[in-house]
Amino acid sequence: MNEKKIIELKSVAKSFDGEIILDNIDLDVYEKEFITLLGPSGCGKTTTLRIIAGFVTPDNGDVMFDGVKINDVPPYKRSVNTVFQKYALFPHLNVYENIAFALRLNKVSEEEIYERVEEMLAMVNLRGFEKRDVNLLSGGQQQRVAIARALINKPRVLLLDEPLGALDLKLRKDMQNELKNIQRRTGITFIYVTHDQEEALSMSDTVVVMANGKIQQIGSPTDIYNEPQNAFVADFIGESNIIDGVMLDDYRVKFSGQEFKCLDKGFAKNEAIDAVIRPEDVDVVEPEKGMLCGIVDSVTFKGVHYEIIVTINNFKWMIQSTDYVAPSQKIGLYIEPDAIHIMKKSEFSDMFGDYSSFSDELEHLSDITEEEEERE
């Protein structure tokens, strides 16, 4: 990865009607990077994207492009292009004309336009679709046209606003690969907005987790997953059991009335912390061999594994195991030291992590389309 900064946001703030959408965020985007802004609806990720595109002017802070401040540069003068959530193809133009749109504005010769449009069509696998009416294309095809249209001007940065949100699951997986390939081949910086954590983890070089108008964590997908910085990140990325605990000493933590070994250090003595244990890192053992014991509340078959909810000290744990256990059975849990991740207390502590009212509620809430976030 190139280490040259292409876009910098410096304490950028934005509020609509007195409601804070972005709360002084700082973000550096490097050249040739695939960076994803990840967060639930209303976290400010789309607004961040629109500030970079130039559709929204920040109340505060600077937007730098190649080290030059571009706060007041209108969108049509920025070498940044956008793939919109619902594609925003021009319905009165056919596929060829949609893709050629930007070139025609620049008075490029017809021969060159033809060459470049064909090149783009080849890249997005739409050769032979030139004369098609864009309204008659499938969602995936429209998506490709939108990408080709945005890339034809060879922008330095491509902004993608939930581009796969409207596609079905299978198509989405294919497009994820295709997008990643395009990004690698063209070497253009991609800034990608999504609320789908799996998409973010599988495609990105860097993931930026956002919530409540603030950046919660920036890091590689593995960092984000394995070393979440607070309860929000831990909960939002994958499944987590987040338990109140106390750091007794370096490498020693106490929760659920038990003392555990762990790999974390540098906390104050007896500091209250959040301990994160991923459901797949817990081993189910005989009750007498377990570090913790509990009664199985429910078991759900998920295909690859069973999802087991166990109550221990009034806290409902989620465990993923390939072995079946029966409900009401007493089981023991075994946790390796490297399965425990310790986080400092944050504003999100106590809000996530317990599975007593486990349902898809949160999932649903974060699935609300970004549409609502976009009002200005």
């Binding site: 609806s41 049509y76 309204n135 009034n314």
Partner: protein, 761 residues
């Protein structure tokens, strides 16, 4: 199956109901005679006539220019307005502005029209212009009332448009202007086109607003047709209406095609073809308009603006036998241009701007409002009296000078009746009528006429005719018609009772009212123009009407085998007791000295019988079929020959015209009498009848049913809501876009808190 048949029958019935009138109109536009009751064979005669009727074509041209211009301007302004409104972020402001722009659509046209006229005249007063009303003002008015419709049809297109499209355009390098032209405009184009077409058709057939805001020298087609009511609508108007209907139909079909309901299923090829059709239609319309403009833009040196009753001048149209009449305005243009050219020693073009009105009161309203610009007007006797009093018309000349000014003035003379020499005063009744007998001459008489009674000779027996009491004869109950205007209707009662029509006492007013109330049960209906059809078809037998129209009625009825006859009512002494009226040419007070010389030339020309210019006075008398006060006319043997016996009826009142004018002409009523007349007329009209009662009851039932239904719906809704409305938490009940992100965030928190509570338990 049965239901389907019933449904089909119902549909057919609805269509018949909707399109029957137009079908009849189209049919009769191809009638070879002017009869409204019988189809005498297919002919294109009325179409031919229409295209030789210069005044109507002029009005049509004006209407088209006005419609295209106003629609185009309104479309541009309206589209920009819709663009702006759509950009407003504050929801309340946006809704507010949208509602405000919609108000003019709901507003009754009459309110818009009057307020516009008031505004224009007021502004005209500020800039000291008396002739502010004209093409410009009608254009502004039309643009104004077209605007909401354009906005209404463009706004939804903006709303439907993906709001990211303009952003996508900016993103790809468009400036905001380019984005509007290249991306937004193509999306809203169907809305713009249908807005334009809607504005065009609305402007094309607008009458009310045009009527109030139009000035002299500009007449639109609807105004022209409407003002033909003094005589009746000629069949070439059926031809014209047919053409307009077909044109509008084509436009509507085009506008529907241009709507994008099935856009998605169309191939690009079909779209292209449709585009070609649309573009070519519009270019044809634009080309015609442009052509008309160029045609009219040659500067006229002298213009005479004439404001007359509809169908009240010989206009070059063909008569029953296909012989074209003289177009007296054209002849004047020819004559006066020759005259002026000789005078000035250079070529001068003369143009008569001839426009029409429907009643004295309309004319008065225009003059009173200061809507000037007319050089010659032709009001009736009592109105002239009023105009002189209120100084709205100016003297043409002093009485000594008048014969020098109007050369043919001396021929306005009463004919001596047999064996009786007339005093000078008696002979000069047409020069010094009751309404204009001062030292200055304000008016030059154009025609005069008398009210008489038309009756069906097949049904009404000879012994019943003669007086006004025929209208009260119960033998003919249900077959009697009465005037549907206050002055004439009360006139019949006053003449019957021998009351002074211009200043009755309170008791006499009451007596007349009682008389009319007594008559009401036997009256078939109160009519004006409908009288023609009712009498010609034999539906009614007895009607009081004006002599010129009565003769035309008799002629028409004869064609249909119905035998009508006519008489002037007399009292028991055998003396004629009926209304006599005169229409005379006047010059409004705001006419400049220079324009006045042209106006005088026009007035003089209308008295002329110069064969070189088609003998205008005779041509007019033949055409309008009222009596001429001009001795050169009523002694002309050719003219008398064309009347073919009708001259006895038309000129009968001349034998005692002085007395008739003296005793029975309508004078300008005092304001007290005028208000008594109006209140009595209302009293007569609301005098309860079973019909009125039924209408009230039905309206009340409908209103009650609507209110009942609304109450029922409201109560049921409230009842259904009662259980869940207060008890359910607000989560998820409302997801309006303005606060949802805040909601969803707080929802997250709420749920999380619930969770952590349970964790602590």
């Amino acid at each position: 199956m049965k239901r389907k048949t019933a449904g089909n029958i119902y549909t057919v019935l609805v269509f018949i109901f909707l399109y029957m009138p137009i079908a009849v109109l189209i049919l009769f536009s191809f009638n070879s005679s002017s009869s409204t009751g019988r189809f005498d064979g297919f002919s294109l005669r009325w179409y031919k006539e229409l295209f030789s009727d210069a005044a109507t074509l002029e009005a049509l041209k004006n209407t088209l220019i006005l419609a295209v211009l106003s629609a185009a301007i309104a479309t541009v302004i309206g589209t920009l307005a819709a663009y702006g409104i759509n950009k407003i972020k504050n929801k309340h402001l946006k809704n507010g502005i949208t509602s405000v722009t919609n108000v003019p659509m709901m507003n009754p046209e009459i309110v818009t029209g009057i307020s516009m006229m008031l505004l224009f005249v007021f502004v005209g007063g500020l800039v000291n212009s008396k002739t502010v009303l004209g093409f410009g003002t009608v254009l502004i008015a039309h643009v104004t009332f077209n605007l909401p419709y354009v906005i209404l049809s463009v706004m939804p297109k903006f709303k439907q448009m993906d709001k990211h499209l303009p952003e996508a355009a900016l993103d790809l390098g468009c400036t905001p202007v380019q984005s509007f032209l290249k991306v937004e405009l193509p999306q809203i184009l169907p809305g713009i086109i249908s807005g334009f077409i809607m504005a065009f058709t609305l402007s094309l057939d607008d009458f009310v607003i045009s009527y109030f805001t139009v000035g002299s020298g500009f007449e639109t087609l609807p105004i022209r047709i409407y003002s033909m009511t003094k005589k009746r609508v000629t069949p070439d108007m059926y031809a014209l209406s047919t053409l307009i209907f077909v044109a509008i139909l084509v436009l509507l079909i085009l506008s529907n095609i241009s709507g994008d309901k099935e856009k998605k299923t169309l191939t690009l090829k079909q779209k292209k073809r449709r585009k070609i059709v649309l573009v070519s239609t519009f270019s044809v319309i634009a080309a015609i308009t442009l052509g008309l403009f160029i045609g009219t833009s040659f500067a006229e040196v002298v213009t005479v603006n004439v404001y007359n009753w509809g169908e009240y001048i010989s206009d070059g149209s063909e008569d029953e036998d296909g012989v074209a009449s003289v177009d007296t305005n054209k002849e004047f243009e020819k004559y006066y241009s020759e005259y002026l050219s000789e005078q000035y020693g250079r070529k001068v073009k003369v143009k008569v701007n001839y426009t029409t009105y429907a009643s004295n009161e309309d004319l008065y309203a225009k003059l009173k409002a200061g809507a000037g610009g007319y050089d010659v007007i032709i009001p009736s006797d009592y109105m002239i009296e009023r105009l002189i009093k209120e100084e709205l018309i100016q003297p043409i000349a002093s009485r000594e000078e008048i014969t020098n000014v109007i050369k043919n003035y001396d021929y306005l003379l009463r004919a001596p009746s047999e064996g009786k020499t007339l005093t000078k005063e008696e002979a000069e009744i047409f020069q010094k009528p009751f309404y204009d007998n001062g030292d200055d001459v304000y008016s030059v008489m154009y025609t005069y006429g008398v009210i008489g009674i038309v009756y069906n000779a097949d049904h009404v027996s000879e012994e019943d005719i003669g007086g006004w009491d025929l209208l009260w004869n119960e033998k003919y109950s249900g077959k009697i018609l009465q005037f549907n205007n206050a002055r004439d209707a009360f006139g019949t009662a006053m003449y019957k009772l021998g009351v002074n029509v211009n200043d009755p006492t309170a008791e006499q007013w009451q007596a007349c009212l009682n008389e009319l109330i007594k008559q009401k049960p036997i009256v078939q209906s109160y009519v004006m123009d409908e009288v023609f059809n009712k009498m010609e078809s034999g539906e009614a037998w007895i009607a009081p009407y004006y002599v010129g129209d009565a003769l035309s009625m008799i002629y028409q009825a004869e064609q249909r085998g119905i035998n009508l006859d006519f008489y002037y009512p007399t009292d028991e002494n055998g003396e004629t007791v009926t209304n006599v009226f005169a229409d005379a040419m006047c010059i409004p007070v705001d006419v400049s000295e220079e324009q006045k010389t042209h106006a005088i030339a026009y007035i003089d020309f209308m008295l002329s019988v110069d064969e070189k210019y088609g003998a205008p006075a005779i041509a007019n008398a033949e055409y309008i079929y009222y009596a001429s006060p001009n001795r050169l006319v009523y002694t002309n043997p050719d003219y008398l020959a064309t009347l073919d016996g009708d001259e006895e009826i038309i000129y009968e009142p001349m034998s005692n015209i002085n007395e008739l004018f003296d005793k029975y002409a309508y004078r300008n009523l005092s304001s007290q009498n005028l208000s008594t007349l109006n209140s009595n007329w209302e009293a007569l009209k609301v005098e309860s009848s079973s019909f009125n009662g039924t209408i009230y009851v039905i309206s009340a039932i409908i209103a009650a049913a609507i209110i009942g239904y609304i109450v029922f719906i409201t109560v049921r809704k409230r009842h259904r809501r009662k259980l869940y409305w207060e008890q359910s938490p607000t989560v998820g009940t409302k997801k309006s876009s303005s606060d949802s992100s805040a909601d969803s965030l707080s929802d997250t928190v709420t749920i999380a808190i619930k969770r952590s509570k349970s964790k602590k338990d």
